[in-house]
């Protein structure tokens, strides 16, 4: 219970940071997707189920913050969480490059999915242009910040789990 509350607070905090303070690291209009890094982290470190809930909670907050149709970010995050969770069981994910690669792939998949849904909603917006100008740079930028974010997450959740284990 305590771990779940900590996880919820962390995800909500990360989503809030993503939608507010992260603007200071915007480069050429591109932002790293902090929620997606969390999704991939939980998919690797725990299970696809927690990763999906992470994606759902973070996606709702992102939808509210960006005033898009409810479910847009949620759907993308949940699909990526499930896929990465499944894939992570078949990979040796201890290496940092593998983690960054998974984040890159996940972010690319999420961007393509996001652009596709937007194209269905608004066909006048070109999907290819969106992918090339937004999804690909975002994926690279997100994978670049992955080691740092994973380091912080491991510090936080390993110690949390240690405390939890001690309490148990």
């Amino acid at each position: 219970m305590r771990k779940n509350l900590f996880w919820l607070a962390f995800v909500v905090g990360a989503a809030l940071v993503q939608t507010t303070w992260l603007e200071v690291v915007r480069v050429e209009g591109v932002l790293p997707d902090l929620v997606l890094v969390l999704v991939v982290y939980f998919a690797i470190a725990e299970s696809e189920e927690r990763a999906m809930f992470t994606g759902a909670v973070g996606g709702i907050l992102q939808d509210v913050a960006s005033d898009t149709t409810l479910g847009h970010h949620v759907l993308c995050n949940v699909v990526v969480a499930y896929a990465v969770g499944r894939l992570a069981t078949r990979l040796i994910t201890e290496h940092a490059a593998v983690k960054a690669g998974l984040v890159l792939l996940g972010s690319l998949a999420q961007g393509i999915l996001f652009a596709g849904i937007r194209y269905v909603q608004q066909p006048e917006i070109g999907v290819l242009k969106t992918i090339l100008t937004s999804a690909v740079p975002t994926a690279f930028y997100t994978s670049l910040v992955t080691p740092l974010v994973f380091f912080v997450l491991e510090r936080c959740f390993r110690s949390s789990m240690t405390v939890q284990a001690g309490a148990d």
Binding site: S47, E48, E49, M52, F53, G55, A56, I60, D63, V64, S66, D67, T68, T69, L70, G71, H72, V74, L75, V78, V79, Y82, G85, I117, Q121
Partner: protein
């Protein structure tokens, strides 16, 4: 295998299906994300409302209690401050009104000076007044001489009676020593206007009006030529005509320029003669005298005799 067990075994897939289903349902129905934000705000507002009420009530109570002590001094300071501001504003308003009136008077004087090109005028400011006499701030050093005419844009004020180096005394139309040759504008009735010396009535009198002459209340009285006063300038208006059982009658004149309400006057340094005065009338024009060519034939002793 029961459905519940199959779901439990494939829980991640079931969660995926549920979340995807909800997301797709929301996307296809076009649910705006703002509903979540509004719902969150509403929930927070509803939950926080009682706490806000309590906090507000406590704040009001605290303010009331501290106000009993603190507000008295604050109100007193504010009262003093507002009094000072009110006094300052009143002073400024009075100054403004005074400046407005002064500006109006000066404008009228300048307009009068411009419309009277035949008069050379010396402006002077009234610095004192008593018993029908005005004291002005121009004297001998400024070129003021006795018997100069004093006038304003409204009309004749009086005559310079005494001149000091830096100030002069003007006997106004209320002063008994002020004598002005006058004529009524309507009937051309001549007389002399003199002050009564009374501070009660503020009127002067026109004397030496023949009993036969037609002078009525409301007649305008102006200066006539042949005196220190330039001709044709308003003296006042007849308010009453009285017959005192003598051969002449007198008229009360309300001066056009009230000396008691004048702050600036013009002293007439020089007045060019009016064209009509220079030309004269048929009756007053001197008869043409033909010079004689007859030589003087009287003896020298007779011519030089006293």
């Amino acid at each position: 295998m029961s459905l519940a067990r199959r779901i439990a075994e494939n829980r991640p897939t079931a969660v995926l299906v549920v979340l995807l289903g909800l997301s797709l349902l929301s996307l296809t129905s076009g649910t705006p994300s703002a509903v979540i934000g509004n719902a969150l705000r509403t929930a927070v507002s509803v939950v926080a409302h009682p706490f806000w009420i309590v906090a507000h009530t406590m704040s009001k109570g605290t303010d009331y209690l501290t106000g009993l002590v603190v507000a008295y001094d604050a109100l007193r300071d504010e009262n003093d401050f507002l009094r000072e501001r009110f006094a300052s504003a009143s002073r400024r308003a009075a100054d403004r009104a005074e400046l407005w009136e002064q500006n109006d008077r000066l404008r009228r004087m300048i307009a009068f000076e411009r419309t009277e090109p035949r008069l050379t005028l010396q402006p002077a400011e009234v610095i004192g007044r008593f018993e029908g006499t005005l004291i002005v701030d121009r004297g001998a050093v400024h070129g003021v001489r006795e018997l100069m005419c004093a006038m304003s844009a409204d009309g004749i004020v009086g005559v310079v009676r005494r001149v000091m180096p830096f100030q002069s005394y003007i006997a106004t139309l209320h002063h008994p020593e002020c004598n002005v040759g006058a004529v009524t504008a309507r009937g051309r009735v001549y007389g002399r206007v003199q002050g009564t010396g009374s501070d009660l009535t503020h009127v002067c009198e026109m004397h030496y009006i023949d009993l036969k002459d037609d002078v009525r209340p409301g007649d305008r009285v102006v200066t006539c030529g042949g005196s220190v006063f330039p001709s044709g300038y308003p003296i006042g208006t007849v308010t009453d005509v009285s017959n005192r059982g003598t051969l002449v009658k007198a008229a009360s004149i309300q001066p056009a320029a009230d000396p008691y309400r004048i702050d600036e006057v013009f002293l007439v340094r020089k007045a060019a003669e009016d064209v009509d005065d220079l030309a004269g009338t048929e009756e007053t024009a001197p008869a043409f005298v033909q010079a004689t060519d007859v030589p003087e034939d009287r003896p020298l002793q007779e011519r030089l005799a006293p």
